[in-house]
């Protein structure tokens, strides 16, 4: 018999019972909650007279709607305020731990989970948010769910699930300097497409993934959903274990050795079989920039905007034409000649301390370009903000003319006041370049933090390797 994949192991350890039709009742170890997708779930519980099954399994935080400036004034938008207050009330009423807006531990839900050790290897983790795939970077099975399922997990600590197929994405060899987890995952999506992972749980492996830090792996797993896969994951190694050690919700000292021993098993067996395997060569990956309105519309910084005329598939060609018109771009324009209006560094994809360090490294001694109207740097949590300030990163950004903000989702989806004006073009470290994602009729180009700030200081996309290290 073939060995087990990491996904098999995680799945098997959580099956409460199997149904005849192939679905399973799956036990959920951790549910993360935020203000946008939970109110209707709590309301449902209340209406049915139900209580949460296990309150200690839940952790709540407001992030989507919180302001990133002048927090002392509270939330100005009354509708957004109601939503955050509703979360506060629900958490209080049901006895669920919440990091409220004034708490230093508050931040983007997918950033604070791992930061607190509330995300652990071997767990099943859900959240009413598609980017829950992020947590798979620690060797966990983590996926986004809808609000009805949030209610279901609150009430039963379980979900009815069908097992996905398994896909292995292996990046062989190392990536070059200046190439990050973001570039790796964008290039994967460019190759397999936004529906390429639909129906699969993806395991990312290979030297390039092993060489990434745990934070870099989170960036990769974060965007598994952008490839259509609900879950992305990476095997546990020494880096994972070191990352978890000492975090507030990590196993106690007495339980630590036992936990580590169990975690050592969290990798695919050498003879495990996957339903689908794709391999890429890490050395060929250059910094990536999206040009369209879907994350699969991506090329490397050395390329040009593609020409729809060379696409034979009708539906695809029309999609490309629509995207180019929306983005205000001509076919065959060199990517590095595209000027940007604004820059956003943040989101659950790229707002962790290493992201900020990488960005600061590029910015040091440089200033915002004259054509760039605004650069927002939004750390992923209060603790990251504090850490960055202790390292003086905030000074580097502020001296360059950037804005140093409070933690939250911010301009990743522009639910709060941080948003683009119509037709403004933004270099963004977030994960979605859909139409109007960052503001009505705004134009988003997804890039790594280093690439984003490189555009901020030069005014247009540029190969960051020309600015630091790699170049002469």
């Amino acid at each position: 018999m073939a060995g087990k994949t990491l996904y098999d192991k995680l799945w098997d350890a959580h099956v409460v019972r199997s149904e005849e039709d192939g679905s399973s009742l799956l036990y959920i170890d951790r549910q993360l909650l935020h203000e946008v997708t939970s109110p209707q779930a709590f309301e449902g519980l209340r209406l049915a007279g139900r209580k949460p099954w296990r309150v200690s399994a839940s952790l709540a935080v407001p992030d989507h709607n919180v302001p990133t400036t002048e927090r002392e004034l509270g939330i100005v938008d009354p509708v957004a305020r109601t939503q955050v207050e509703t979360l506060d009330r629900n958490a209080d009423e049901f006895g669920i731990t919440e990091f409220k807006m004034g708490d230093i531990r508050q931040g983007i839900v997918h950033v604070i989970g791992p930061e607190q050790g509330a995300t652990l290897p071997g767990m099943t983790i859900v959240c009413g948010d598609s980017h829950t795939s992020t947590h798979g970077a620690l060797g966990a099975l983590a996926f986004g769910i809808g609000t009805s399922e949030v209610e279901h997990v609150l009430a039963t600590q379980c979900l009815v699930q069908k097992k996905s197929k398994s896909m292995l994405v292996r990046i062989n060899g190392s990536v070059g300097t200046g190439v990050t987890g973001k570039d790796i995952v964008l290039s994967i999506i460019g190759k397999i497409g936004t529906a390429g992972g639909t129906g699969y749980a993806i395991e990312f492996a290979g030297e390039a993934i092993e060489e990434l830090s745990v934070e870099g792996r989170m960036t990769v797993c974060n965007m598994a959903i952008e490839a259509g896969a609900r879950a992305g994951m990476v095997a546990v190694d020494q880096k994972t274990i070191e990352y978890v050690k000492g975090r507030p919700y990590a196993p106690s000292e007495e339980q630590w050795p036992q936990a580590v021993e169990a975690w050592q098993e969290l990798h695919s067996d050498a003879d495990a079989l996957f339903d689908y395997v794709v391999e890429f060569d890490g050395a060929t990956i250059a910094p990536q920039v999206t040009w369209g309105t879907s994350p699969e519309m991506v090329v490397s910084i050395e390329d040009k905007v593609p020409n729809p005329d060379s696409e034979i598939d009708d539906v695809k060609r029309r999609g490309m034409e629509k995207a180019l018109a929306y983005m205000g771009l001509d076919a065959d324009t060199p990517i590095d000649s595209i000027a940007v209006d604004k820059v956003f560094v943040g989101s659950c994809t790229n707002s962790r301390i290493e992201d900020l360090r990488e960005a600061a490294e590029v910015v040091k001694g440089r200033k915002i370009a004259s054509n760039v109207k605004q650069v927002l740097i939004v750390p992923g949590s209060g603790l990251i903000k504090e850490q960055a300030e202790s390292e003086g990163l905030d000074r580097v950004f502020v001296d360059a003319g950037f804005e140093w903000r409070d933690p939250g989702c911010s301009m990743c989806l522009a639910m709060n006041a941080d948003r683009l004006e119509e037709r403004e073009r933004c270099a963004s470290t977030s994960n979605r370049n859909f139409e109007s994602r960052q503001g009505l009729n705004s134009r988003t180009h997804l890039v790594s933090p280093a690439m984003a700030v490189a555009a901020a200081v030069t005014g247009h996309f540029i190969d960051v390797r020309e600015l630091v290290g790699g170049g002469d």
Binding site: A13, V16, E20, D21, G22, S23, L25, Y27, V36, T37, P39, Q40, E43, W53, R54, S56, H64, V79, A80, T82, Q83, L120, M123, G128, D129, S130, T132, G144, I145, G146, T147, S148, E151, H152, A155, T156, Q157, C158, V160, T194, A195, T198, G228, R230, A250, P251, S252, Q255, Q258, A259, V315, R318, G319, L413, M415, R432, F434, E435, S436, L440
Partner: protein, 212 residues
């Protein structure tokens, strides 16, 4: 949950791939703490020419005459015909609530994004996967005349075109059973309370750090 057994309804075509949940219901409407009332803002960015916000009365906004839902021919449509990867993007169930609130009972497409697909079943919205060719045929037939209606039979798992031909579709037995009977998932799961407790007892001895 509303039952789904059989349904005959007018078809509205949404002829583009990768229709994402941001497009189905833009984020400014997610601030609501309710489940109802999203219908008037379904496909908001495409449906209106000026920006929308929960604080703005839709009646004061300029309608986009080129958008398919604004074509009077499609008034009262209950079946949405889509292209590949329908419902991709965020997990927001609000997208499904917006479709059902508008009156859509079924979406037919060659493929769906996972979370959207799951969310649909929780709300009595039937997502039907047909092959690329079948979907293409429906698009063509729809384009040929107005008032194009499809008959959907969940029990028989068929979609019947006006001429009488029909396509069959696949669906999980359990999902079908719940939809046909309009059953509450939570109630069904709680029937297995003892199994859940037994699992917890066993698991917490094996991995106690998960139960702090």
């Amino acid at each position: 949950m509303e039952k789904f057994t059989q349904h005959k309804g007018l078809v509205v075509p949404m002829d583009r791939p990768n229709v994402d949940t941001d497009a189905i219901i833009p984020k400014q409407y997610l601030k609501s703490v309710k489940r109802a009332g999203f219908g008037p803002n379904l496909f908001d960015d495409w449906r209106y020419l000026d920006p929308g916000d929960p604080s703005i009365d839709n009646a004061t906004r300029r309608i986009n005459p080129d958008f398919v839902l604004n074509n009077s021919q499609y008034e009262g449509a209950t079946v949405l015909l889509g292209r590949e990867n329908f419902g991709c993007g965020s997990s927001r169930e609000h997208a499904v609530w917006a479709l059902t609130d508008y009156g859509i009972r079924a979406v037919i497409a060659p493929s769906f994004a996972d979370i959207f697909f799951n969310n649909s079943f929780k709300n009595g919205l039937l997502p039907i996967t047909l092959s690329e060719n079948e979907v293409e045929q429906l698009f063509q037939e729809e384009a040929e005349g107005s008032g194009y209606q499809l008959q959907i039979d969940l029990e028989a798992q068929t979609v019947t075109v006006p001429e009488g031909g029909s396509f069959s579709f696949e669906i999980d037995e359990f999902r079908k059973y719940r939809l046909l009977n309009g059953l509450d998932d939570i109630g069904l799961t709680l029937q297995h309370e003892d199994s859940i407790r037994a699992y917890e007892a066993h698991r917490s001895s094996e991995a106690p750090w998960l139960f702090r």
